[in-house]
Symmetry: C2
Subunit: 340 residues, 2 copies
């Protein structure tokens, strides 16, 4: 840490993730000298507080990044594509929460508990990528196992909330739920490709030629990079379910040699960023509702599979906290500790 | 078919599955000479129709099965345990929809599209088991692939509706949804182990020593029996999600040799009981809401995995139709065609 406090900008400050970044900066007592907040023209004008600081949300079009140390880009891929260069040209380091750089070798993708050392590579483009919630939860859970016994194959199925598409996702689930509970037919969906209320939708992003979706591919790319396992075969099926907040993942992991459930529990109990909730006899396992406002990746239902050297696990993570904002702020903490 | 019409009894006639059995018998023009309907004392007294027939629902305690050809037991494991012998002692054949006999070698478990020939084994106990929805969907989808290239390993994660626990499951989701949407805190859950509204619960049945749940174990046992693959390693994670009707399964299948997505599509397109909805370019894939009132197992998102010889698929099935009532009535159709 070279300075006593830093100049921070948040782009997308009024969104669900942007607000959570501001909350997290405050909760974790991040040393802020100046806070600049940007949003679209429609969302600008609001005043937000972060600890003792108060800042007016300004229109992004008028943004200036001179003197800023760290810029959080939390307004989606298009904004990240348009603003990365402008944010870094005056010396700021960008922490990008879109998945635009999932496969860009010049932008390190960081889960601090897993691959903090890779952060040094930020110098190539003055940018670091913070992954999305499924990749973060999988990385935090699989890294300790992978260090013990090499992971050979991963099969994951996600249960993702509507808040991962922002406030409009929440509004669509609310509206459709009210319509259906009052016996009305639902309007055409606007945000999700099908009705989401009382339904599940196995689509996140656009479908690619091989049949995977773009977000599934990003999760696979990011997980391989963060685990430093470039050849690891990963199958991810990302599914939206009618949850507002919190998400879960069913994971099946094949390892090179046998890893017992007891061994996995032992290593996960002390793993950074992991909260073990794994006592099915006592009914202990994490659900999405249980992990809201928590910063750990919760793990339960650890069990040995019938197949040789295969374990099953169940993960739950708050998609807006550790799944987005907390991971990004942790990256900022590493940056100021070692580099800025 | 030895008779022109049969005497049929339905135990659990007023439940969700019982009513659907009566509907299905009518829709499929099952030849019924006499219909006897039984339910608990509290549910008895109602009059139900099945085509031209009308029957009063009588209390199960007063049931008599003399002269009955086929008895559908659709009132859960306890009722099946108590009534199987009494139903069969006067010559009836039982079709059991509980999963009490999932592992009983003397009770064949039948998915008509998959292992119709095994029905001959009903003579041991005058009983046939009809599996639950996940096992039926998996069997219908995997059998044609298994015949083409031997299946070596299956990983499945289910998305199951509250109606699989009967009307009380539906009422609990309704009540909790209304409470949450009106800003109230929810009462203690009564049917599910946690809150189900806007949440997901990775528990179906009770947990066993190895960490699997009882229903997960049943699905695995039944699927191996129906596919005639006694050593097939299967991992199933059964999850309740806030759906009323319809269910879905994400499936990952490892085969002995390569099976391309195109080959899988070709064989599934003409497979019995399968409806192929697999054109992600056009946004075609089945969701639970799409398959309600359908009798097929819908399949989409067929894609080759990164691992060698692995395919991913997405299944959806109406848990009350093909997932329960339709499969049981199909078994009855086989019985009268060949044996009664």
């Amino acid at each position: 840490m070279q300075k006593s406090a830093y100049s921070i900008a948040v782009v997308g400050a009024t969104g669900l993730v942007g607000r959570e970044i501001i909350n997290t900066l405050e909760q974790r007592l991040f040393p802020i000298a100046e806070l600049r907040l940007y949003a679209s023209l429609q969302s600008a004008g609001e005043t937000l507080t972060c600890g003792a600081l108060t800042a007016l949300v300004e229109p992004l079009d008028a943004a200036r990044f001179g003197g800023v140390d760290i810029v959080f880009l939390a307004a989606g891929e298009q904004v990240s594509a348009a603003w990365l260069a402008r944010a870094t040209e005056s010396g700021a380091v960008v922490i990008d929460l879109s998945q635009l750089f999932a496969a860009d070798p010049d932008v390190p993708v960081i889960v601090p508990e897993v691959n903090a050392a890779d952060i040094a590579d930020y110098v190539a483009r003055s940018a670091i990528a913070s992954p999305d919630a499924p990749a973060i939860a999988l990385a935090v859970a699989l890294k300790p196992l992978h260090e013990l016994v090499r992971v050979l194959r991963v099969v994951a199925t996600t249960f993702e909330p509507v808040s991962s598409l922002g406030r409009v996702g929440i509004e669509e689930l609310q509206r459709q739920t009210i319509e259906l509970m009052s016996g009305q037919s639902t309007e055409e969906p606007a945000i999700f490709p099908r009705r989401i209320a009382f339904n599940v939708i196995p689509q996140a992003g656009e479908f690619l030629a091989g049949g995977q979706s773009s977000y599934e591919q990003q999760t696979m790319q990011v997980l391989r990079r963060v685990l430093d396992a470039p050849d690891l075969p990963i199958s991810v099926t990302r599914v939206h379910v009618p949850l507002f907040f919190g998400s879960a993942i069913a994971v099946n992991v094949e390892t090179e040699a046998r890893l017992t459930a007891a061994q996995a529990r032992e290593v996960l109990l002390v793993a950074p960023g992991v909260l073990l909730r794994d006592d099915t006899v006592a009914g202990e396992y994490p659900t999405p509702a249980d992990v809201i406002e928590q910063d750990a990746t919760s793990i339960g239902r650890i069990r040995e599979d019938e197949a040789l050297n295969v374990l099953d696990l169940w993960l739950a993570i708050d998609n807006l906290r550790k799944g987005s904002a907390v991971n990004a702020v942790q990256i900022a903490e590493l940056l100021i500790r070692d580099y800025l």
